[in-house]
């Protein structure tokens, strides 16, 4: 195997190790009771509130109580796993594990978080609509389709962001220098 390939392989495995370690740390933080109660639950309630307003703007008569959106015939409770936080964790761990400058990382994190949350709002609204008007499709839309779409969106956002970075380790490594020269 050439030196360049070995170096790339090492960087690749290093990225994965950092990614998994960061994901574990982020999980421990968001799963802890104080963070869950003080940050995650209010954040989820805010998602429910914005979704409720948008649904009402589209003519659905939705009422929001905490993290639950209800109408006269259907209701959903937004739980962990449906609030976009899991995709944001994945995206955040990948961006921070990737060798790039801090300014670019922070910009990527902010833009990615907003984009993921916008898509997640669309997910909550459409799932509520499906539950109300096409209840037979709710389970598969909820578990498989929308969940996959949001996670894939996070992964593709990361790949797009990463493809625009110059990895720092590549620039510093002999392989990186030889490519420039």
């Amino acid at each position: 195997m050439s030196e360049v390939r070995v170096s790339a392989r090492r960087r690749s495995v290093g990225f994965l190790l950092r990614f998994v370690a960061l994901l574990l740390v982020f999980y421990l933080i968001v799963a802890s009771h104080p963070v869950n109660d003080a940050v995650i639950v209010p954040f989820t309630a805010a998602i429910a509130s914005v979704s409720g307003r948008l649904l009402n703007a589209f003519g659905e008569k939705a009422e929001v109580v905490g993290t639950e959106i209800r109408s006269s015939s259907f209701g959903v409770n937004i739980e962990n796993g449906c609030n976009g936080v899991e995709t944001a964790l994945l995206f955040g761990a990948a961006v921070l594990a990737f060798p790039a400058g801090w300014k670019r990382r922070l910009l990527g994190l902010a833009a990615g978080f907003v984009a993921i949350q916008v898509l997640n709002l669309l997910r909550v609204i459409t799932l509520f609509w499906i539950g109300l008007h096409r209840p037979a499709l709710f389970n598969s839309s909820h578990t498989v389709i929308w969940q996959s779409v949001v996670v894939l969106f996070g992964v593709l956002l990361f790949l797009l962001w990463a493809s625009r970075q110059k990895p720092l380790s590549a620039e510093r490594s002999p392989a990186g220098r030889s490519r420039k020269g």
């Binding site: 790339a8 962990n80 796993g81 894939l152 593709l156 790949l159 493809s163």
Partner: protein, 193 residues
């Protein structure tokens, strides 16, 4: 580089993976239930746990449950829907159907099967440690309770989404020198000449 064509291939992969996943969910659940039951039974004496798939759920039964009592149902799709993510990520490659890439996809899918079996083992034990009242408290201490329950919770919150990404990064993604999409050739005749 992730570009429009790679994203389109990913979309096609996603749309092909969905009906495949819907069609093969039941036999797949039988396979992961058999694997998880064998793994759990290895450490039980006597081996009492029985996992029976059916109707989108994996029914958790024990030979020492009172007859006629309710059996917990574990939602199967929550564990293995991430197969769709794996297919989509592998479809991003500029030649997704070439032999080597397909072989690496099969290796990643086999690794994902192993992840699903382990996740189901954690899910069964998380039911045992948290949902069976006095029996749970009598048979599991606080360390075991936290280990099994937190392990499955981690899979639910982060692991099931991260697993396909990690496997694709390990098996399917070409090294950084090779972008996801090869650049269009410009002046190819010049190069050949």
């Amino acid at each position: 580089m992730l570009n429009g064509r790679a994203a389109l291939r990913g979309l096609v992969g996603f749309l092909l993976a969905l009906p495949f996943w819907f069609g093969f969910s039941r036999p797949y659940e039988s396979a992961i239930a058999a694997g998880a039951q064998a793994a759990i039974n290895l450490f039980e004496s006597p081996d009492v746990t029985r996992l029976q798939p059916g109707n989108g759920e994996i029914l958790l039964d024990r030979r020492d449950f009172p007859p006629g009592s309710a059996r917990p149902g574990l939602p199967g799709p929550d564990i293995h829907f991430n197969f769709v993510l794996l297919v989509t990520l592998f479809a991003l490659d500029h030649k997704p159907l070439r032999g080597g890439h397909v072989a690496r996809f099969l290796a990643a899918a086999a690794a994902l099967f192993f992840v699903h079996v382990v996740a189901l083992v954690f899910q069964v034990h998380s039911v045992y440690v948290t949902s069976l009242g006095a029996w749970s408290k009598a048979n599991y201490g606080p360390i075991a309770r936290n280990f099994w329950a937190a392990g499955f919770h981690f899979y639910q919150i982060a692991g099931r989404f991260a697993a396909p990404f990690v496997l694709w990064w390990l098996f399917g993604r070409r090294e950084e020198e090779e972008p996801l999409e090869r650049p269009l050739r410009v002046g190819k005749r010049k190069r050949r000449g």
